[in-house]
């Protein structure tokens, strides 16, 4: 069970549920990017070269809002910071990997692959783990590209799709991701602070309002965490 070939297949198989979950988002991303004015090549290029779902969604909404380049880049960085945590968590399992493996698997490190791979290393051991992670990564990567392409086809073949109010898909997606987290009080505080700030500052040039609001939200969350410390510990244990 520890030879490379079966490990690649095992990684792929364990990632299938994640691929099914990511599919619709790839499709929505492809469609939205086209209606936001990206060319089909640039839309596919973003999925191929950036390969970070949430950042890609945020970038498309920023592009259609007319944000400045540095704001888009900086937001991408902020939205991606959680990957540093995944990188740190996987690092002890990667001691035997060559530099080449580390770079390649870093490029493909997503929320989904992290969840699958970290669970596997912890419960099944890390022997030849790079092959397992390769299987998971390739599954996510090809799946994301495929569904982006389907979205691009849909977006470019239906005329006037941009007037259908598809931008609502982004709102619905973001709201559906955030809402369940609001059960944790510090996160609720972070969201309220960020939302209020972005409404107050709405219209600042280059979408700077977004960066300021996100920062205010994070600081508010950290402060609230101090106030609600007992509850936070309880939710983390659960």
């Amino acid at each position: 069970m520890k030879n490379p070939r079966s490990l690649v297949l095992a990684g792929l198989r364990d990632t299938v549920p994640m691929m099914v979950g990511a599919g619709p988002f790839g499709l929505i991303f492809g469609t939205l990017a086209i209606s936001a004015g990206l060319s089909p090549a640039a839309t596919l290029g973003m999925s191929l070269f950036v390969f970070a779902g949430s950042s890609q969604f945020v970038a498309v909404s920023l592009i259609s809002a007319g944000a400045a380049l540095p704001v888009i880049w900086l937001t991408t960085l902020v939205v991606n910071l959680r990957h540093a945590l995944y990188s740190a968590t996987l690092q002890p399992h990667a001691r035997d990997w060559s530099a080449g493996w580390r770079w390649v698997l870093s490029f493909w490190l997503t929320d989904e692959t992290f969840a699958v791979v970290e669970n596997h290393f912890r419960t099944q051991g890390r022997e030849n783990g790079q092959w397992y992670q390769l299987g998971s990564s390739l599954g996510m990567y090809l799946n994301w590209f495929f569904w982006t392409a389907v979205g691009v086809l849909l977006g470019s073949s239906i005329p006037g799709l941009s007037e259908w109010g598809l931008d609502f898909a982004m709102l619905a997606t973001f709201a559906a991701i955030v809402a369940p987290q609001l059960r944790q009080r510090p996160i609720l505080v972070a969201a309220l602070a960020a939302g209020a700030t972005s409404l107050l500052l709405h219209g600042l040039p280059y979408k700077l309002d977004l960066m300021v609001a996100a920062l205010v939200g994070v600081v508010a969350g950290l402060l609230a965490e101090k106030l609600f410390r007992p509850q936070r510990v309880a939710t983390e244990v659960a």
């Binding site: 950036v50 939205v79 991606n80 990188s87 994070v218």
Partner: protein
């Protein structure tokens, strides 16, 4: 705007973060404050994006039943909060949004 430039910068803001500890791990320490701050990034960034889009889709604040973006977003939030099912929330809210906008 050159979208390839957007992509290049985004790639440069993505790969080094993912590679950080896996490639340069022995030289890095994850700052505890950053670890705690990360917990709040998704909710802060996404809410900061959502609120102006939902409350003022045409540039001015519009709190009314006629604002399909606002009602749809609220529906998405409530369904996701109650069911914890992201896709279900998207589908239901899209139906409500579509109904408000086109009927």
């Amino acid at each position: 705007m050159n979208h390839w430039l957007v992509i290049l910068g985004m790639a440069l803001a993505t790969l080094p973060v993912r590679a950080s500890f896996l490639v340069f791990g022995h030289r890095l320490v994850f700052p505890p404050l950053l670890h705690r701050a990360l917990h709040y990034v998704p909710a802060a960034v996404l809410t900061a994006l959502i609120v102006p889009m939902a409350l003022a889709p045409k540039g001015e604040v519009d709190i009314s039943l006629g604002n399909a973006y606002l009602i749809g977003t609220l529906v998405a939030g409530v369904v996701a909060f109650a069911s914890r099912k992201t896709l279900l929330a998207i589908v239901v809210s899209f139906a409500v949004y579509g109904a408000l906008r086109y009927f």
